[in-house]
């Protein structure tokens, strides 16, 4: 019994989640920069793809990431009212609200899809966020083999 538990824990620790992040240039990308200049530490599991604005983030991007085997996706941009383009994040927020429902219904639940506002001043928030979602995804385990979006040839 104890042995099994240790094995499970080891497997969970060995599992390195693959997380794709879509972030806006003006707030979250800059917030991630600040985490760097502040020499904060977070797990190396996230790969950032930079867009000008969360308004540019098409649900197709998220699908494509899952199709390619991502265990989770993070989408992050400017806080409401702070959008460099005044309202791109408001448009994005509506799309996410609906898209997450659709993915949840089809089996990609909230342990796989994260949304956040991280401003250019929130380096600590970015570092904490990445640490937290990495932990959560690790706890949830690999999305495979139940990833309904996964490419199989």
């Amino acid at each position: 019994m104890a042995q099994t538990e240790t094995k499970t824990a080891e497997a969970a620790a060995a599992f390195q989640p693959r997380i794709v992040a879509f972030v806006c240039n003006w707030c979250t990308y800059a917030g991630a920069d600040l985490a760097g200049t502040s020499r904060l530490r977070y797990p190396p599991n996230v790969r950032i793809i930079k867009l000008p604005c969360t308004g540019r983030i098409d649900p197709l991007f998220i699908l494509k990431a899952f199709e390619g085997g991502a265990d989770a996706v993070l989408v992050s941009g400017c806080h409401p009212g702070d959008c460099h383009y005044t309202s791109g994040n408001y448009h994005a927020r509506r799309r996410w609200a609906l898209f997450r429902r659709l993915l949840d219904l089809t089996g990609i639940d909230e342990r796989r899809l994260f949304f956040s506002w991280v401003s250019a001043a929130e380096g600590q928030k970015f570092a904490d966020l990445v640490a937290d979602i990495t932990e959560k995804v690790r706890a949830a385990g690999p999305l495979e083999p139940a990833n309904p979006a996964r490419r199989r040839l």
Binding site: G36, R41, P44, R47, I49, P52, C53, I57, G88, H91
Partner: protein, 658 residues
């Protein structure tokens, strides 16, 4: 075929300490399309940049990836280097190996693996980059200033002084705005007209300024550098080219009891009138709503009196189109209507007046010749109560914000009253005194200590009129902790400052945002306080938030500096990161048009050679597009793309991470 060069920077030890830069360069060398890969201690140094330039030239690179610090740090540096070597700067991308990798991770193997991923993503992206060229837009070096108050006048004079043409549009018959109505100004108590009227005359006579009074903006087309604005010149019924401003007409006008807007309804004017004696232009207009000839068809007294034959009852509104490169909105403010306060008499007591009415009573050119006489019976009030924050800082009935100017003008009113009625009592009810400004706190102290204005901290709960005409003011003195009742002869309410009526419509015409109170929104509350979200449209004065004269003038000069900066070059150069519509596949569902934060996506009619409409599609106006890409993600059929962040680029970036 793509020929990509990869340049990995050690950033001294900053990257190299955690990331094995040589291993990253070696891995990059094996990536498809990469023909050159190198690592170096300081890529941003002169020798580092020289490496990049040399490789571009020698290896005939079609794209480059620099794996170094954040692009927010050195992208301009490396793109410049690429351009110097003949590579279009937009064919160089950066992989963020420092802020996003070496500085945040400790495990060397994991950090190196991540760095390789980040480089791979950018290699795949840059293969799909296209050469981009700055968008050049010609600029019409004429400015439109909307609003002829002190802010508009100052902005117009500064722009004109900088050698550029200005069209100054004012809704009323004269420029001067609210400042012309003030008696004296805080904190110096200099006469408002004495400092303002020379500016008004200068604006009217400046060779670079075209004055369009009694006019309003009707329609706006175009974008920064190239606005086409339609201005409605309202019918004046007086030919100003003939009029000498002699005054024979208004002396004879039989409609004499029209409340004067200038005198805050305390005085009267005629139907053919100039708003005040120092008006600029100093020529009359006919108020078509009150003119007996225009409403009833007979009279014509003014026309008979005019020796120049300048009165023309057949005059009509005229639409004038002007082309301007920049716009300054300076539409100013109004006072909040305090009739919403039932407890203060709901606007029904003649002797409960607002700040402008007090200004006119105190003004030497006002209806009482500068004597403080109350409106109801013309008596000199012995006790005057001033109530601050009337409608301000009252989220429930009035406005949530502080109107900023009332503390100061109420102190001034108290002083002016005490200067004119030496034995009278001036009592001010206040919530807080906000006197931040040069000489402002001293001014308040002067009102209290030298002039004996009495300050009571507390709210007035009710005002009612006793049968003898006294206004009974009941309030609280929260410092003394007791109820206060004052028998007053007159009450002056410091009504909240609100934006000018019609401001929202004007904002919509120019694509400028406004807050829930109707104040125009600046592009950034701290760093871009005079710009708006609409490129080329700037703000001055109280249309943006409540402001006193010095702040309005300062912002007006700032707006003028922005306009002159814009006009300093013949062409506008813009980042080529803009959206484009594939008109072949667009079905014109208009989702993008509705979504664009800048109104940059427009309906475009495709016509055949004979001019017949074939179909309508969406088209992006490059002059307005700011490159956010919201329209791209909204388009269901993928008909729009964003230069620099195309679907192809993002697709390959994601695919690379598989």
């Amino acid at each position: 075929m793509a020929r990509i060069g990869v340049f990995i920077c050690h950033c001294g030890e900053n990257i190299a300490r955690t990331v094995d830069c040589a291993a990253v360069a070696a891995a990059a060398a094996k990536m498809p399309g990469v023909v050159h890969s190198a690592d170096y201690k300081y890529m941003c140094s002169d020798p580092g940049q020289q490496m990049i330039r040399q490789a571009i030239a020698e290896k005939k690179l079609t794209g480059a990836v620099v794996g170094a610090c954040s692009p927010r740090m050195h992208e301009p540096t490396f793109r410049r280097a690429a351009a110097e070597a003949g590579l279009n700067p937009y064919l160089l991308e950066m992989a963020n190996l420092r802020e996003h990798c070496s500085w945040v991770h400790e495990d060397r193997a994991a950090a190196t693996a991540k760095a390789i991923d980040l480089v791979r993503v950018m290699v795949e992206k840059v293969k799909r980059n296209r050469s981009l060229y700055p968008i050049r837009v010609p600029i019409e070096p004429t400015a439109l200033v909307v609003g002829g108050g002190i802010a508009g006048i100052q902005a117009a004079l500064d722009i004109a002084g900088g050698g550029k043409k200005v069209i100054l549009v004012e809704r009323g018959p004269s420029i001067g705005g609210h400042m012309a109505r003030l008696s004296e100004t805080f904190p110096t108590l200099d006469c408002s007209q004495c400092i303002l009227t020379p500016r008004m005359v200068e604006a009217a006579s400046h060779p670079n300024i075209t004055l369009m009074t009694y006019s309003e903006v009707e329609a706006v087309e175009g974008f920064v550098g190239n606005f086409q604005v339609t201005i409605r010149r309202k019918a004046k019924y007086v030919d100003w080219s003939k009029c000498t401003g002699c005054g024979d007409c208004w002396a004879k006008c039989p409609a004499r009891k029209i409340p004067s807007e200038f005198d805050a309804r305390l005085g009267a004017r005629t139907a053919i009138y100039r708003p005040f004696p120092q008006a600029v232009p100093n020529k009359p207009v006919i108020d078509r709503e009150h003119c007996i000839m225009l409403t009833k068809g007979k009279c014509g007294a003014c026309a008979k009196a005019c020796q120049r034959g300048a009165v023309n009852f057949k005059d009509q509104d005229e639409l004038v189109k002007v082309k301007v490169g920049a716009v300054v909105l300076a539409t100013g403010f109004d006072l909040w209507d305090h009739s919403a306060y039932g407890e203060y008499g709901a606007g029904k007591f003649a002797d409960v007046i607002d700040g402008f009415q007090f200004e006119r009573l105190a003004s030497a050119s006002g209806p009482t010749g500068g004597e403080i006489r109350r409106p109801s019976d013309g008596q000199v009030p012995r006790t005057v109560v001033f109530i601050q924050c009337c409608g301000s800082r009252d989220e429930k009935v009035g406005k949530a914000y502080c109107s900023k100017i009332c503390c100061m003008y109420t102190a001034k009113h108290g002083m002016l009253y005490k200067h004119k009625v030496h034995d009278g009592r001036a009592i001010v009810f206040y919530m807080d005194i906000r006197a931040a400004g040069k000489g402002y706190e001293e001014f308040i102290r002067r009102a209290v200590e030298a002039d004996g204005v009495e300050y009571v901290r507390g709210r007035v709960s009710r005002i009612y009129r006793r049968t003898d005409g006294k206004l009974i003011v009941r309030g609280a003195d929260t410092l003394a902790g007791r109820a206060v009742t004052v028998e007053a002869d007159m009450v002056v309410l410091a009504d909240a400052v609100v934006p000018r009526s019609g401001g929202e419509k004007l904002a919509q015409l120019f694509g400028v945002g406004y807050d829930t109170d109707g104040f125009y929104s600046e592009a950034h509350p701290k760093l871009r306080p005079v710009e708006t979200a609409a490129a080329g449209v700037f703000l001055a004065g109280a249309c943006q938030s409540p402001k006193d004269i010095p702040d309005s003038v300062a912002q007006a000069s700032a707006a003028a500096a922005k306009v002159l900066g814009l006009f300093a070059r013949p062409e506008l150069e813009r980042e080529p990161v803009v959206a484009r519509v594939n008109e072949n596949t667009c079905v014109h569902c208009r989702a993008c048009i509705q979504a664009c934060p800048y109104g940059a996506v427009e309906d475009h009619e495709i016509r055949d050679r004979k001019g017949h409409l074939v179909r309508t599609v969406a088209r992006v106006n490059e002059g307005l597009c700011q490159g956010c890409g919201t329209c791209v993600a909204i388009c269901r059929s993928g008909c729009i793309d964003l230069e620099g962040f195309t679907d192809e680029q993002v697709f390959s970036e994601i695919a690379t991470l598989e």
